[in-house]
């Protein structure tokens, strides 16, 4: 849990930085926009409505069904007030009435209300009586904002070429300088040597000739003791490496297959801080953690049809949006009609953590009873753009953990008696899983 909070904080600060940055760079643009709006929309100019507050209200109350520029469960709301006023001649009073009690408006026989009600398949809008006039005004002010040209794209474009280059250049310069320095040194040494020899010959000093002994390798071969030691060393080394090779067979640590849909745990668990067990809910009660069914995805992705977070050259916004489209195709969701077509196509994920059939592992035992963090075994999932196998999943790995991990016996009536008795027996206060019997063969192999 701690980790996900941390990431949430990091996420918040990131956003804040972005906001500040945008304010600095686009100050002028924004100012001109506001002036523009002030001229075009007379009503919002009259009252003191805050589009920033409106945005948060919109996201909290409306975004489940409405988007600004896209038809969803309900109609797109960009410039809704203007549109209603221009096309239907409806004023703000009507909007107040509609938002607070749409059913009432429909019942009253209002023509437009009935038209829109039927257009959206008789789905009544959730009444929002809690919204004050000011709130609605703020929301309307937000909806009346012009569609902003995507500023983030420009930002990254202007920033990205600069940022990564800097360390690259400096490294190369340092390395180059070092190489030149060494070259100079070598040349210098050679020159010194040459000069010294010249001095020697000039002063007629005889340089001693090098005597030829037995070559080193021959001496080495002739030394039987050394040979035996080396042979033993080589044999041991090869045995070590062969053993190492054999024992990694079937161990797929780092296995990172390409999945049919590029699902980024980094975006979901990291950037957005979604709890692991929101999607992998069966980890709490079952032996399997469960790959979430597509209806779990659609809980959010019904309204999240595009990606608006950070991108990289490898994974662009278009790429992510394409992956969301893949999800829609699989779930049989028609984004245009905002309804299920019924043509679903189950996703064939590639299984990453393959425990052999003869080993029984139960998620709920570890997640619910022991309270082990998912990351303990699965690694920094919230940082994984592509999921991979973090742990070796070998028996030694399991056992190491069972030997060192204390059992969480607090507030669990099941453990009360056994904990008391075992603590007395071993003379310790905390018991490891191994002391509790977690190393017995039959606990995992049956």
């Amino acid at each position: 849990m701690k980790k996900s909070y941390q990431s949430l904080e990091a996420n918040l600060t990131n956003n804040m930085r972005q906001v500040i940055h945008r304010k600095l760079s686009n100050n002028l643009l924004r100012f001109s926009l506001i002036i523009l709006i002030a001229f075009t929309t007379s009503i919002s100019a009259q009252e003191d409505c805050d589009p920033v507050k409106g945005k948060s209200l919109f996201n909290a109350n409306c975004a489940a069904c409405h988007q600004l520029d896209k038809k969803m469960t309900g109609p797109a709301l960009r410039n809704v007030e203007q549109r209603l006023a221009d096309d239907e001649g409806l004023d703000r009073a009507w909007i107040y009435a509609w938002i607070r009690n749409s059913a009432g408006v429909i019942k009253s026989g209002d023509a437009y209300a009935n038209k829109i009600y039927n257009e959206y398949g008789g789905a009544a809008m959730t009444p929002m009586p809690q919204l004050s006039d000011q709130d609605i005004c703020d929301i309307l002010a937000y909806t009346a904002e012009e569609k902003a040209t995507p500023p983030s794209g420009g930002d990254t474009a202007s920033l990205s070429p600069v940022a990564p280059v800097e360390p690259g250049i400096s490294n190369e310069i340092i390395l180059g300088a070092l190489a030149i320095l060494f070259m100079l040194l070598a040349i210098g040494l050679y020159l010194v040597n040459k000069t010294l020899r010249r001095f020697a010959s000039a002063q007629n000093i005889e340089l001693p000739e090098e005597t030829k002994g037995t070559p080193l390798w021959k001496a080495f071969v002739q030394n039987q003791f050394l040979m035996i030691v080396v042979a033993i060393f080589f044999l041991l080394a090869s045995a070590y490496y062969v053993y190492g090779y054999l024992s990694q067979i079937g161990v797929d640590q780092g296995y990172q297959p390409v999945q049919p849909i590029h699902f980024s745990h980094k975006i979901h668990a990291g950037d957005n801080g979604i709890d692991c067990k929101y999607c992998h809910s069966s980890a709490r009660v079952s032996k399997t953690s469960g790959i979430p069914s597509l209806n779990i995805c659609m809980n959010c992705h019904k309204s999240i049809y595009e990606y608006n977070g950070e991108t990289s050259p490898e994974y662009s916004k278009e790429f992510y949006d394409g992956e969301i489209q893949k999800l829609y195709a699989a779930a049989g969701w028609s984004d245009a009609d905002q309804q299920y077509t019924g043509n679903s196509q189950p996703v064939k994920w590639v299984r990453i953590h393959n425990l052999p059939d003869f080993a029984y592992f139960n998620h709920s035992q570890h997640v619910t009873v022991a309270g082990v963090e998912c990351q303990t075994c699965h690694g920094p999932v919230e940082e994984m753009e592509v999921m991979y196998q973090h742990a070796p999943l070998t028996m030694g790995w399991c056992i190491d953990c069972h030997r060192t991990t204390n059992v969480d016996v607090k507030d669990n009536a099941y453990y009360t008696k056994i904990h008391e008795e075992l603590s007395k027996k071993y003379g310790v206060d905390e018991l490891t899983a191994a002391q509790m019997g977690g190393l017995e063969c039959g606990k995992c192999h049956y």
Binding site: S286, K287, I291, L294, N354, V369, T416, C441, G442
Partner: protein
């Protein structure tokens, strides 16, 4: 000198001119080595481009490639639901209450499903009145995944059609037939279903000339007629044996399938001595049945003698004088004793009979009425048998005469089960429309114009009235696997009703049964006990028969006057494993050893030793110990069958037995086509026939799992005592702990000083023990099948069973006494002295007595605390857990089989072959459909590893985990194994002995407790409770 010695290898060598010796000198191998098969064809040899060198290259390459490829793991796909049903969590089992009602077996059950697949049948403990799941019901889940099921409606020629085609064609024909005023016949199993009855009456209203004939393959017609004559309603008297202290049965095998079965749990309640009291059970019978094997006193009697015995019993109990002649003196005494005990017991006594005769059944009812028996209940009749043999016989005659326009069958297989099947087939061809609702292309459905693909009961809706006022619901536990439709849905379609059968039941229950109670609750519970006044009209045309009241005493007099039969009398019976034969394609049931003969994959003629000797029939053991038997021709009124012979201790002289359910020919795999069809001899629906038997050529190979039948006086395997001794003598007398000599002092083997091993502290945490009560165990075998289903135990087939390679983790040993009682055996063994005596008398003890005492003993891994298997495993694949379970790590086992050799209980099983996905073992584990029944929590073992009972560690671990998750202590009774959960007789109790208040901890301290082969010092965690027999006469 020595060089002159000539050694010879066979007698033949002594013959100087022997041609054989000469040939063998020249030729090492007697048979030609079949080299011609692969080298003979020169052309193909030369045509091939592969040279020897190339061949070796290929071999080398493929070996290298295979070993390299083995290092690479396969890519596994994981496919989640698109929309996950809210009630399904992958990895967590769901349980549904439902009801099996296949016409032969009726029981309320709980179905365990995993990821939407039913994988196991368990007892519905809420349904105490509706019988419990027997071996066949436990095995019925496998029928759902039968690869030979009909997958869509078909015409006779095998062409698949759609249901709409089926509807339009059949409706048109039905309408025409109805218009022509010809008979429309519904020939069905006993549904005992109020909704179906209602539906059938609506069908009658719509088409007019409709006749509903209910047909039970194995008829209880006599008992039904007797009950109807006496009480005016078609049903069977209900018995609750838990209220009976003296039980006299004349030919009734009430512990298996007599009158629908399900009486065993009540029976077992009073078999356990409580405050010095237990029931007394006297059995008169011809075949050695499960019931007879459990009786305190068993009197072998031929069927015709049984009639006399019953009449005599009636006379003695009621004092209503009936003259009976022709009973031997010893039988007379036995009857007199039984009668006096019944009179003494008064309302605590009960008499039942299985004689297929209206008078006999009436007599039994009259005796019970006279006694005022508490166990006898005529007010809530059993409804699960309603067949009417006269109506069936009339139907066959009418069909043959061409009077029947249309016949629609459901749940019956008359071409297999009728003795006059040929007449039925002829009659079928004369009908204008014939439809069978069937799961298989079986003997009957292959003869009808349409096969309406029927669903398994686990895919169907339904309701059952077990007994008057005792209802149960059937609900689907899986979506239909195939394009099937149940009979009731079709009736709705034909009557033009758009309702689904589910809605129909719900409506019918709402108006007539529930009386305001919640339907959903009834569905959740699976059972509903209503007020007794609810009467649902019976739809059988039963008015044809005579319903005249038989005056008291007359029935007995008629019975006494019944003619004695000359020659041998055949009693046809149903086996615990196979029943009426519907589930013949179920490999679990085929391999299930019969509790009495311990033979699987067969039916056979049981005959007494004396009769077999007289006719010249033998049973022999061949070199590997397997059993062979002679064949005999069994002839009844000109119909003859060639049947293998099994000499059966306890079979009444002058009688033979043969079981139904075998000899199926269609709708099942070749391996399952075993045995002979005994229905051919079921003439006039009478299970007793007069037969002639002659020896026939050939020897039959049986697949028996127990080849030694007697205990040889080894009283420490099954400890036995009598109620009298149990009540009067000290435990030391009848259940002494064995002692060994330590420094010339007798020390009990349980004391640590005489132990090879050091004691391990097991007082902390759980310590599991399983208690098996030999008094409550009837040997029914439900636990064996439950163990199969829970632990993915493979089926190995007849030839492998014959090689003693059966894989049952749990076996129920059956022992016969070689004297008249086991006590006699012990005495005889004790008195053997000297070589001559031991040679002759041990030899004698190998043979069972003519009418032996029988004892059953379930044996599974004993989970010894000091296990001999663990010490000999070279790779530590088997080790002990703190919780008392002997663990077996399959992936560690290298298959030395040392453990099996060192196990004193012989409970370890070796995988000689790969039993899954292997065409040589074409049972359920060889196809994708059949593998759906596998328990995902238990490993499917591979070739070359040892396996054995794990004490269902997956179940105990689950119970512990559930408690940990809920943060609570575990209550007694929560821990279960598959066998203990399946045992409705209370013979198996499982639990934690460190929980001092638990039932099993108390049983461990019980005086009756002993361990199997205690003298070996293995300290098992399975305990047995000494068998006590109530031998007190009068």
């Amino acid at each position: 000198m020595s060089s002159n010695k000539k050694y010879w290898k066979s007698v033949e060598e002594l013959n100087e001119n022997s041609s054989i010796v000469e040939t063998l000198k020249q030729n090492e191998f007697v048979a030609e080595i079949p080299t011609d098969e692969f080298l003979g064809d020169k052309e193909t040899l030369e045509a091939t481009s592969t040279t020897r060198r190339d061949f070796l290259k290929y071999v080398g390459f493929s070996t290298a490639a295979a070993s390299l490829a083995a290092c690479e793991g396969p890519v596994k796909k994981s496919i989640p639901y698109v929309v996950q049903p809210t009630e399904i969590i992958p990895g967590v089992a769901n349980y549904y209450a439902t009801t099996i009602a296949d016409g032969f077996d009726f029981a309320s059950v709980l179905v365990k499903t995993r990821e939407g697949r039913p994988i196991k049948i368990e007892n519905n403990t809420m349904a105490t009145t509706n019988g419990s799941a027997n071996a066949r019901v436990n095995a019925s889940v496998l029928g759902l995944y039968d690869s030979l099921r009909v997958q869509s409606p078909k015409r006779k020629d095998g062409e698949s059609i759609s249901w709409s085609t089926f509807d339009s064609e059949t409706t048109e024909k039905l309408t025409n037939i109805a218009a022509a005023n010809k008979d429309i016949v519904l020939l069905t199993q006993t549904f005992a279903s109020p909704s179906t009855s209602k539906l059938i009456s609506e069908f009658k209203d719509k088409f007019g000339n409709v006749r509903h004939v209910i047909y039970d393959a194995v008829s209880e017609s006599a008992a039904l007629d007797a009950y109807q004559a006496k009480y005016g309603e078609r049903g069977l008297a209900n018995y609750d044996f838990s209220k009976a202290m003296t039980i006299v049965s004349v030919g009734a095998d009430f512990l298996s399938d007599w009158q629908g079965g399900g009486f065993d749990s009540g029976y077992s309640k009073n078999r356990v001595p409580d405050h010095g009291k237990m029931s007394r059970h006297i059995q008169f019978e011809s075949n050695m049945s499960l019931t007879g094997a459990n009786a305190d006193k068993r009197v072998p009697l031929t069927p015709s003698q049984q009639k006399l015995a019953l009449a005599k019993l009636y006379s003695l109990v009621t004092g209503n004088n009936v003259t009976v002649n022709g009973l031997s003196e010893s039988v007379e005494t036995a009857i007199a004793n039984a009668a006096s005990q019944l009179r003494k017991a008064g309302s605590n006594g009960v008499v039942v009979t299985g004689i297929n005769d209206v008078n006999a059944q009436t007599v039994a009812l009259e005796i019970n009425e006279f006694l005022g028996s508490k166990a006898f209940d005529a007010k809530t009749p059993i409804k699960t048998r309603q067949g009417n043999v006269q109506a069936v016989a009339q139907l066959v005659a009418d069909m043959k005469a061409g009077k029947v326009g249309a016949i629609i069958m459901s749940g019956v297989n008359p071409v297999y089960t009728l003795p006059n099947a040929a007449d039925f087939v002829e009659g079928l061809s004369k009908t204008e429309l014939s439809v069978t609702f069937s799961m298989k292309v079986d003997e009957t459905s292959s003869e009808t114009q349409y096969i309406a693909a029927a669903p398994h009961y686990l895919e169907s809706w339904g309701d059952v009235e077990f007994k008057k006022g005792h209802y149960a619901l059937t609900q689907p536990t899986i979506r239909p696997l195939f394009d099937t439709r149940q009979f009731q849905e079709a009736l709705l379609k034909w009557t033009g009703n758009d309702m689904s059968y589910h809605d129909y039941i719900k409506e019918a229950w709402g108006t007539t049964i529930l009386g305001g109670s919640s339907f959903n609750k009834a569905l959740h519970d699976g059972v509903y006990v209503g007020s007794i006044d609810t009467v649902v009209e019976d739809t059988t045309d039963a008015d044809a028969e005579d319903t005249a009241e038989v005056p008291s005493g007359n029935a007995a007099r008629t019975l006494a006057a019944s003619t004695q039969s000359n020659g041998l009398e055949l009693t046809l019976y149903t086996k615990v494993g196979m029943g009426d034969g519907q589930q013949a394609n179920n490999p679990w049931l085929q391999e299930f050893p019969d509790p009495i003969t311990r033979t699987s994959w067969d039916n056979y003629l049981t005959i007494s030793k004396a009769d077999a000797d007289a006719i010249g029939l033998t049973n022999t053991h061949v070199a590997n110990g397997a059993l062979n038997g002679s064949y005999a021709n069994v002839t009844v009124n000109g119909t003859s069958l060639k049947v293998p012979v099994m000499i059966q201790p306890g079979q009444a002289k002058g009688s033979v037995g043969l079981s139904f359910g075998y000899g199926r020919t269609l709708g099942l795999k070749e391996e399952m086509q075993t045995g002979v069809n005994a229905y051919a001899l079921y003439q006039g629906f009478n299970n007793v026939q007069s037969v002639t038997i002659e020896p026939a050529a050939g020897e039959h190979e049986f697949a028996s799992v127990q080849l030694h039948n007697t205990l040889m006086g080894r009283g420490d395997i099954i400890k036995e005592t009598t109620l009298e001794i149990f009540n009067t003598k000290d435990k030391k007398y009848w259940n002494a702990v064995p002692v060994v000599s330590l420094n010339h002092v007798e020390t009990p083997v349980t004391s640590p000083e005489v132990d090879l091993w050091d004691e391990f502290d097991r007082s902390i945490g759980h310590h599991f023990n399983l208690s098996v009560d030999l008094n409550a165990c009837t040997g029914c075998g439900a636990c064996v099948i439950a163990c199969h289903a829970e632990n993915n135990v493979p089926v190995v087939g007849k030839t492998e069973v014959r090689r003693s390679r059966d894989m049952h983790w749990l076996r129920i040993d059956r022992y016969y006494s070689s004297e008249t009682s086991f006590e006699g055996d012990n005495e005889k063994k004790e008195n053997i002295s000297g070589l001559g005596s031991s040679l002759s008398e041990f030899g004698e003890m190998e043979n069972a007595s003519e009418n032996p005492q029988v004892a059953f003993q379930p044996v599974m891994c004993q989970h010894c605390n000091h296990a001999p298997c663990e010490t000999v495993c070279p790779v530590a694949a088997t080790s002990h857990g703190r919780q008392g379970q002997n663990h077996m790590a399959y992936n560690r086992c290298v298959g030395t089989r040392y453990c099996a050799n060192n196990c004193p209980y012989k409970v370890r099983r070796f995988n000689w072959f790969l039993y899954n996905g292997n065409d040589e073992f074409d049972y359920h584990m060889n196809d994708d459909l059949g593998r759906m029944v596998l328990n995902p929590d238990v490993v499917v073992r591979s070739r070359g590893v040892m396996e054995k009972c794990s004490m269902c560690i997956q179940m105990t671990q689950k119970t512990i985990l559930d408690a940990k998750r809920d943060g609570r202590q575990i209550k007694d009774g929560e821990f279960q194994t598959a066998c203990s959960a399946a045992c409705s007789n209370g013979a198996m109790t499982f639990g934690d002995i460190n929980d001092k208040d638990s039932k099993v901890a108390k049983l461990k301290e019980d005086n009756r407790m002993y361990h199997l082969l205690e003298s070996v010092g293995t300290k098992p965690n399975v305990q047995y409770q000494t068998k006590v027999r109530n031998t007190t006469e009068a």
